[in-house]
Symmetry: C2
Subunit: 239 residues, 2 copies
């Protein structure tokens, strides 16, 4: 598709491999970047070794030189967006209070979930590298830095673990929900239409009564309010 024409490829002189212009040499980073882009655009069901190859102007088999297989490719995709998260959350200026710190971390992860709604379920559900590396915080480097930050703000080791656990659970619940309704496999409108066609809500009076309120998008408030609750709860640890 984005193949820039083997026929008209400019040959750049001297004997050796004529590195195609613009299309940089294939490599793990380029592959992962393209995979992320592809999933963002088409959903993870559509991602196929063969299609990803085609998108990069190469046969599927060429990818195996850089990733061990499809599963490892998906792990690589998770790794890729976690690196984005690291850049976004860990390289800015330091927070003044631990409350601000947790706020910044939470909003950073949320931005990832909203920015890549079709990738976030992978971050949330791929089998983790270590059993205690809890989704959606799936990067050793990120978690190390997170614990480090907590320590800087006066948390003991034990307290940090409690915070890490509560924090990851909180993010998983809120963001997986938000991402999966956003990056919906089905367009929301079509969804509703199909739904009311095939389901007779009249058998469910309570749902019928509350469905207007249930349909209201309240993710922003839910997130902010529960985050504040979480932070308050964590404050109790320190007293």
């Amino acid at each position: 598709m984005t193949n820039d024409g083997a026929a008209g490829r400019p040959i750049t002189g001297s004997g050796h491999v004529p590195t195609p212009l613009s299309t940089r040499r294939l490599g793990r980073d380029q592959i992962l970047r393209e995979a992320v882009r592809f999933i963002d655009a088409n959903g993870r069901e559509q991602l196929t070794m063969r299609r990803l190859g085609a998108e990069l102007g190469v046969e599927a088999m060429a990818l195996y030189r850089y990733v061990h297989g499809r599963e490892q490719l998906l792990d690589g995709v998770v790794e890729y967006v976690m690196n984005e998260l690291y850049e976004a959350t860990m390289t800015g200026k330091v927070a003044e209070s631990w409350q601000e710190y947790l706020q910044a971390m939470a909003h950073g992860v949320r931005a990832l979930a909203i920015g890549h709604p079709r990738i976030f379920p992978l971050v949330a559900t791929r089998p983790p590298a270590a059993p205690w590396l809890r989704p959606p915080l799936r990067s050793l480097r990120w978690v190390e830095e997170f614990l480090e930050g907590l320590a800087r703000h006066g948390f003991t080791g034990h307290q940090s673990v409690v915070v890490y656990r509560a924090f990851s659970t909180f993010l998983l619940g809120h963001l997986l929900l938000e991402a999966s309704t956003q990056g919906g496999e089905v367009a929301p409108v079509e969804d509703d239409v199909e739904f009311f066609e095939t389901n007779d809500l009249s058998a469910y009076p309570r749902l019928l009564e509350l469905s207007p309120e249930l349909s209201k998008d309240a993710y922003d408030n839910e997130f902010e309010d529960s985050l504040e609750d979480l932070i308050n709860r964590m404050g109790v640890l320190r007293s």
Copy 2:
């Protein structure tokens, strides 16, 4: 595999179709039950139309008479376990207080997650029928009854919606985490070994220091403690 021999099948008399004994006639329910059993045993990656057919002593194509395709089959699996949940939580004796009620509901869903750890991710991540039918509570009938129960215990419609939202988020975060470490695609021991072989934790001093505490299984306490917090928070609504 469970095919009981077309060769030795007993013909039961009069002209019409000789319903095979023990192997009941193929039907949607039997297919879904087998699919659930199969995923519990082998994981959802292994579930294939062809293999499921074989397990039922039939070619894959025969399944299409009862389920529209693989996606619908997975939806059916979710439906199946949600019906189990309904039986488990909604047909017992009624709770005396709303706190007891929420406790019972929460523990019911947790029992589902622990009882079917390899199916729970489906319940948690399949695109929902309606955008406001929030995972992991993926049954109109169940949610209707849940809201009904809240009303019985004196919650207004608006309050019920708030409770439903907080409750679903809570369950999603806690149980998806617990289920995915339990129904692990990789055995936990093998996991740890592989992990320490391929990752040099010495670059992460904080993780190294805290890894013993991080490895501790604390799901029981985490669940009970946060559930209590959640219930307390919901209590504030009513004041």
